[in-house]
């Protein structure tokens, strides 16, 4: 459609005449429209163009999944949990660190897609799907990590809401049942939320594919054509999802935090653990999105058109805001425990600052608080994709250490000093590599099996943007189509 080009025409001349040094709106995706057919072609080419490097990386990841996840987990199931490092006093080890970490990663998708959709933040359009995929794939890893922690994974059905042979139902007031319900709701909700906006793009891919891909897209597109009724049902559902998934997102990580906060244990018993965990989740999730966008932009064809410096800039601003909020809750949690004067909490805090895991604690402060807060002020840094991705990666390292300190380390320093023994992971290391590999493998496969860019949303955005003449200049204007 040429609607945007029509509104745009003449604007460049004005800019060139009056303010050569001024920011050119054409640098922004919404003011640099291409015909829909061309954008479709670009997205299809990005899906279909595969180099030998892709297959090498795919092969390595598949090998890691086969050995570190499938074989190692099978071995643990056959041998029992003794092959893992969990033992008194740290019964919760890396499996739960990974669970919390992956649930955290999953928060970015919902945050970017749902909250920014509700507030009509236009920069979200090209990368909502990449973020939503992160939610679904992250939650799958979180689910695997919980099942690993269960040990006797074949008894998972004990938690299902059905009575046992004596007609005794599960205890729905247990935090473990809260986890099951919250994570199940979030997995199902976020997967449906991923699929709904994907349908029109699957239909687009169906129209341009042949062979097995045609069959694949035809099945997934469900017969979508784009009738008025179909759009109406779809947009209504997406609006409902956008609003409903937000409290679900908040509830999930709050409930995960309650697994810890409900216990009277030094370091855990905290009333701000709920929001502190939610902010931590957003912190790591936003960082992970920056990494994914960087990889997409530099490894997939034509992605530099859809994912631009403006998107990294906007993401960087969000990361900065989340950093401040996270810092606030971190300090709030820390100072209340420090000021409380409880002897065991004092011991724990001193141990974090001076003990053998102090390096982890200081890296946490550096990567999660200091580096993002000091660097993301700078626009040039925010607009440099590799730098923002690096900061995002460091945030994730810091957030992983934070979860490590909360789970096994805080279990170590308890009210019974004779049990203090530092946790040493064993098979957990392989399983962790396996889950990370599976996450990347899913992403790699998705990049070739579904359109990662929501083309119809980008086109819709470009149709609503125009430049309006105000006095001697043209200002960006957004129309409300709904």
């Amino acid at each position: 459609m040429t609607a945007t080009s029509k509104y745009f025409s003449g604007a460049k001349k004005s800019h060139e005449t009056h303010h050569d040094e001024e920011h050119d709106p054409r640098e922004l995706l919404m003011f640099d429209p291409k015909p829909r057919g061309e954008m479709n072609q670009m997205v299809m080419e990005s899906m279909l163009t595969t180099s030998w490097k892709f297959w090498v990386v795919l092969g390595i990841l598949a090998f890691l999944v086969a050995t570190c996840l499938v074989y190692a987990w099978g071995y643990m199931i056959a041998e029992g949990l003794w092959v893992a490092g969990v033992m008194r006093p740290s019964y919760w080890g890396i499996f739960l660190v990974n669970t919390v970490f992956w649930i955290g990663i999953s928060h970015a998708g919902t945050f970017i897609s749902a909250i920014l959709r509700v507030f009509k933040a236009e920069f979200r359009r090209p990368f909502t799907r990449a973020a939503e995929l992160m939610t679904t794939f992250g939650l799958i890893q979180a689910g695997f990590s919980i099942f690993m922690h269960l040990g006797r994974v074949w008894l998972t059905y004990w938690m299902f809401p059905v009575p046992n042979a004596r007609q005794l139902w599960p205890n729905f007031h247990s935090p473990l049942m809260w986890d099951l319900l919250a994570i199940s709701t979030y997995v199902l909700g976020s997967t449906m939320y991923l699929f709904l906006p994907l349908i029109p793009d699957l239909a687009m891919a169906r129209d341009r594919s042949t062979g097995w891909r045609k069959t694949w897209f035809k099945i997934l597109a469900l017969g979508f054509r784009g009738t008025e009724g179909e759009w109406r049902h779809l947009t209504t559902a997406m609006n409902i999802f956008a609003f409903a998934i937000i409290p679900v997102m908040f509830s999930v990580h709050t409930i995960v935090s309650w697994d810890f906060a409900m216990a009277m244990r030094p370091g855990w018993s905290s009333t701000v653990f709920g929001p502190y965990f939610v902010l931590g989740a957003l912190h790591s999730g936003m960082g992970a999105v920056a990494v994914v966008l960087f990889i997409m932009r530099y490894t997939m064809k034509h992605m530099d058109y859809f994912i631009r410096k403006e998107h990294f800039d906007a993401l960087g601003k969000l990361m900065l805001i989340v950093t401040f909020a996270y810092t606030y809750f971190f300090f709030n949690d820390y100072i209340v425990q420090w000021y409380g004067g409880d002897r065991w909490t004092d011991d724990l805090l001193h141990w974090l600052e001076e003990g053998p895991m102090a390096w982890m604690f200081y890296q946490l402060l550096l990567f999660n608080l200091a580096i993002p807060a000091l660097t993301l002020w700078n626009k040039k840094i925010r607009q440099t994709p590799w730098l923002l991705a690096l900061i995002g990666l460091l945030i994730n390292v810091g957030m992983y250490w934070e979860r490590y300190l909360i789970v096994p380390v805080m279990l170590t320093i308890n009210r019974m000093p004779f049990t203090w023994k530092l946790y040493s992971p064993r098979i957990e290391i392989f399983l962790t590599i396996g889950t990370f590999s599976l996450f990347l493998l899913f992403y790699l496969a998705a990049s070739r099996l579904i359109p990662l860019i929501p083309v119809w949303e980008v086109q819709e955005g470009q149709m609503t943007h125009s430049l309006r003449k105000v006095g001697k200049t043209h200002v960006p204007t957004i129309s409300e189509f709904e």
């Binding site: 829909r36 449906m192 017969g223 009724g229």
Partner: protein, 173 residues
């Protein structure tokens, strides 16, 4: 009686809206017009009647069903086999709120998703009237008209800026 389907393809919204207005003037009712596009275009832009959707009602129904199921699991199942521990309440309210919330939201979301399928008749793999140019950004106005009047409609819509006006048959997507 209408007995043929014509497709008029448009590049932009304005000529498509004008064409629909013209079709109304020429006696084609809204029931015999269907607009298909690659992006959501509101009924107001096209001068079309408000399309009906049951999705929000189904979502509400799902939420109510989820709440009821949550209430049963929370406050019903403990009494099927009461286990009293330390004189505490068998069905305390605060921890039950979590189950109620999650079940309400889960069923609301499931019903919303199902609503799209029901209202849109998904999945639908039968032959349908469609052309791939629509996902390339064109707006397709499909309308049913008597075969004898086809030429009249083709001329009228071509004059209003249609890229092409032609008879179209259902095809396998």
């Amino acid at each position: 009686m209408p007995d043929a389907t014509l497709l008029a393809l448009f590049e932009d919204i304005d000529p498509a809206a004008n064409a629909i207005e013209k079709l109304h003037e020429m006696g084609v009712t809204d029931d015999n017009i269907n607009v298909i596009s690659g992006v959501p275009i509101t009924h107001k832009m096209l001068g079309r009647p408000h399309p009906w959707t049951n999705v929000s009602r189904l979502a509400l129904g799902g939420a109510v069903a989820g709440f009821c199921l949550g209430a049963f699991l929370n406050y019903g199942t403990p009494y099927l086999y009461p286990v009293s521990v330390g004189g505490q309440y068998i069905t305390p309210i605060p921890p039950g709120m979590i189950l109620l919330f999650e079940m309400t939201m889960l069923f609301a979301l499931l019903a919303t998703f199902l609503g799209v399928f029901l209202d849109s008749y998904f999945p639908n793999y039968r032959p349908l009237e469609y052309v791939p140019e629509i996902s390339d950004g064109k707006i397709g106005v499909f309308f049913r008209t008597p075969s004898s009047d086809q030429e009249k409609f083709i001329d009228a819509l071509s004059n209003l800026g249609a890229e092409s006006v032609r008879p179209v048959e259902a095809q396998q997507l």
